[in-house]
Structure formats: C-alpha cells, structure tokens
C-alpha cells in the first residue's frame, strides 16, 4: 500500500480530528521529555517503506540515528539552522573585509538566502520519504523560509511526510530534539542558534506548506504544535 492510499484510508479519521488535543506534553519525571504524537503518526506514514530515506534537519544525536537505522531507514542529517548561522557569520566577515564604498558588496536578504541554498539542502529530487524539522521553520528568516520550503518539497518523494514543530508563543529557551522512542522526544537545551522569528498562526502554517497536502496538527499542553504534511 502506498502512502497516498494509506492516507486515503485514514482520511475519515483525519477529517474528524484535524487538530487533535495533544497528550501529556511533559512527564512528571523530566521536564525535558516530550510525548510526540506527531512522531508516532510520522512513523506510521513512512513504515510502508522499510528502506526509506529520512532527512533530519536538526542536530545529530546518537539516539536519533540509532532509532531510525534500527528500524531500517537510511538517515541523512543537516543542521540547517546552524549552517545558516555560520553562513551569515561568514558573509558578515567577508563584508567587513570589503573596502568601504564598494557597492557590489551590498546584498539583500533574498540574495543571501539564494546564495545559502547554493550549498545547503543539496539532494536529488524526489529523494526523501520523510523530513524532520523540529524548531526550524519559525526560526528562519522571512526571505529564506519560502525558498527552504520549495527545496524541501523538491527533494521529497511524492507521498513523503514532513514533521515540523511550531511554537504558539515565543519559547523561553532554544532546544534541540533527540528521538528516544517512537513517541518520545528528549529536549536538549542549547545555546540559542537563532532568534525565534515569529509565531505562526495555523492559517500561516498551511500557507508556508502551500504545495503540500495538509495532514494533521497535534497540539501539546506546552502549546507546541506538531504539523504533519504530505507531499
């Protein structure tokens, strides 16, 4: 059964509960543990392809790598937010060395975003079955975000799934995400890589995933929304 068919079979349930109330978003045992119904659903969508290719756009962690590999997936990792930050620092350094009055040095945010994507997210078209993007899209520059979405759409296979998280209010700290098991994430507090750019309304999230088919949104008690979209 392909993913489209799988999704079609599930469409009745999807229509009934497009926005599900989330489970416990944090267990009493540890504030850094988060139950992720989005991950559970993501795995359900991609399990038909045991040798599927997953792209994790966050930091690399042993537990995440082992989790997917033990399930038979092939995992690629690209810490997009860190790459963007380093790219901007390099551009700033380059600009600092440019003689004053050199007009050619001036670049717009759009040009920077385009230049960044000349080296980032370089994968074949229709390559990945799944993409993970926790704490990414609402941290990206407004000029970069639509270009990144376009590139992600291009590198995903038809029927592929994207799991992304969005904050409903400005987060108090910056976290990276480790997969602990098929429904549990560990939040790893990390020095801030980027300023939280904005809080997206649900309609805006649908807009930035405009080319995708909407699937489901899960809202946790911590008000973090997990959005799952299919290409």
């Amino acid at each position: 059964m392909d993913w489209t068919a799988k999704q079609r079979l599930n469409s009745t349930a999807t229509a009934r509960a497009t926005v599900k109330p989330g489970p416990e978003s944090a267990t009493p045992a540890s504030a850094n543990i988060r139950v992720s119904n989005g991950l559970k659903e993501f795995l359900w969508l991609i399990t038909d392809n045991g040798q599927g290719k997953i792209l994790d756009l966050g930091a690399v962690f042993q537990s995440t790598v082992m989790f997917f590999i033990e399930k038979g997936f092939r995992l690629s990792t690209e810490d997009l937010l860190r790459s963007w930050k380093e790219f901007l620092l390099a551009e700033e350094e380059s600009l600092r060395k440019t003689p004053v009055g050199d007009g050619s040095a001036r670049v717009s945010q759009g040009m920077l975003a385009g230049k960044f994507l000349d080296t980032a997210l370089q994968y074949p078209e229709d390559y990945f079955h799944g993409v993970l993007a926790w704490d990414l899209f609402d941290y990206l520059d407004a000029e970069l975000l639509p270009r990144v979405m376009e590139r992600i759409y291009t590198v995903m296979r038809p029927g592929g799934a994207v799991l992304a998280s969005f904050h409903s209010r400005a987060p108090e700290r910056f976290n990276r995400y480790k997969v602990v098991d098929s429904q549990t994430l560990e939040l790893v507090p990390t020095p801030t890589l980027a300023v939280h750019a904005r809080v997206f309304q649900n309609r805006e999230i649908l807009d930035i995933f405009g080319k995708f088919r909407s699937s489901k949104t899960f809202v946790g008690r911590d008000q973090v929304r997990e959005a799952l979209f299919l290409k």
Binding site: V60, Q62, V65, I69, T77, D79, R82, S83
Partner: protein
C-alpha cells in the same frame, strides 16, 4: 604540517594537522585530533573523529564522533558512536561487522605514504 596525497598503511594514524587525499588503513585506527583538519575519504577498521573532516568515513568496526567533531560526508560502519555536540552533515548507514572498509578503493601506490607504526601527522610536540 600539511600533507597532500593519499595515505595508506597498517597501523594507527593520528592526524593533528591538515591532510588532503584518501586515507586507507588495512588495520589500526585513524584518529583525527581536535586540531586535525582532513579533506579526504577515510577507510579503516576504526575511525575516531575529534576534529574536522570533509569526506566519507567507512569503518570496518566502528566510528566515533567526539563532542567537538565536525564531519561533512557519509558515514558507513557497523557501529557508530556520536557524542552530544558533534556536528554532522551527511548520510549514515550501518553495515554488517567487517564489511564496510573492505569495499573502499586503495590509493595508487605512487601517491601512497606508507606508515608502519603509529604515525602522527601534525605539528611536532614540544
């Protein structure tokens, strides 16, 4: 110290400087120290990265990426250890023990730097 060219041998290799070219050890361990900067594919039974590598890592036994390591390339090994803080951009694949490094192409002899015991590539220690 900078080395350009392929390195092959049958020993442990510690890289503290810069190398460009393929690295292939039939036995032993390749260690890229925190000061090491490698632009090369590495094939060895055991690979330990504490520094910076741009290239594919292919280990017969295991790969370990330290907390300050930075790797850009693919990673192929039966056992993988990634410490928190490591930075990695590329593809991870796990193989059956003993299979990963066997398929790598050896460097051409003319370019080889043969080493027969523990070798350290880098700045001399004072």
């Amino acid at each position: 110290m900078k080395i350009r060219g392929d390195i092959s041998g049958d020993c442990h290799l510690i890289i503290e400087g810069e190398t460009h070219g393929k690295i292939h050890l039939a036995n032993g361990r390749v260690t890229v120290a925190p000061s090491g900067r490698v632009t090369a594919d590495i094939a060895a039974p055991e690979i330990v990265i504490e520094g910076n590598v741009q290239g594919n890592l292919q280990a017969r036994d295991n790969v370990r990426m330290g907390s300050a390591s930075h790797v850009q390339g693919s990673l192929l090994s039966p056992r993988i250890r990634i410490e928190d803080g490591a930075r990695f951009r590329g593809k991870v694949e796990m193989t059956r023990p003993g299979h990963a490094a066997d398929s790598s192409a050896r460097a051409t002899p003319a370019e080889d730097r043969e080493v027969s015991s523990t070798a350290i590539v880098g700045t001399p220690r004072g």
